[in-house]
């Protein structure tokens, strides 16, 4: 026998609202809270890593010579780290890796890529070309 949906909804049923709250609502909201926190930290890590990758590669390619290029990139990173909270530095360490299409890196027209890794999983890349007329 088929029961109409309206009939089903109208039907009174016994139950404890407190039990339903504890069993269904609290776990749902807890999961939602964890989700919001995860989205928040992930979006901040994405924004942070992408910007840092852009700035470090910019500092690298605008270096006057090969010897200072890496120092400049790391200097940008260290300045940024010094502004973060100690807990932020401990929980989400930042690593930098610079790679070039060919070496020496600061050859005209060379493609330089900076990779920033924030924490365990967040990775961002930024690429710039060395000035052709340098």
């Amino acid at each position: 026998m088929k029961i109409l949906p309206t009939r089903f909804l109208e039907k009174s049923s016994t139950g404890s609202a407190t039990a339903e709250f504890v069993i269904f609502t609290l776990p749902f909201f807890t999961a939602f809270l964890i989700l919001i926190t995860a989205i928040s930290s992930k979006s901040l890590a994405i924004s942070e890593s992408e910007n840092l990758a852009r700035q470090t590669v910019r500092a690298f390619v605008t270096s006057p010579n090969e010897a200072l290029a890496m120092v400049r990139a790391y200097q940008v990173l260290e300045i940024y780290k010094s502004k973060r909270s100690p807990s932020g530095n401990q929980n989400r360490p930042i690593e930098l890796d610079i790679s070039c299409t060919f070496y020496p890196c600061l050859s005209p027209g060379n493609m330089v890529t900076a990779t920033i890794i924030v924490g365990k999983s967040q990775k961002a890349f930024a690429t710039e070309y060395v000035d052709l007329w340098r």
Partner: protein, 107 residues
Amino acid sequence: MRKLLLAQHRGSVESLLTILPQVFVFLVMFQLIFMQFNVMRSTNLNQGELAKSAITGSGANYLRYPLVGGGSVLVVEDQSDLKKFIDFGNLSSKKIVAIAVDEDSAN
């Protein structure tokens, strides 16, 4: 459906006791989303403003650190209280750091 909407339902103190925490928890969630949105908004706006300053050399609300080999690093450190629509008496602060490279040593 009309019958269902017009039907009389009985409530109890128990249902009131569970509705109140549910509304509270829901508002806390909403507050968190609102706060997160504000942090992201400030992060992007500050970064945009600083990047513009690095290009034009204008603006004054930043710290300038000299970069080896020429140029400088511009940093904006913004620490302020978060806007909240539900205030539980606790202040929530946010710290936003924006950074940009200004390769022009003349700026």
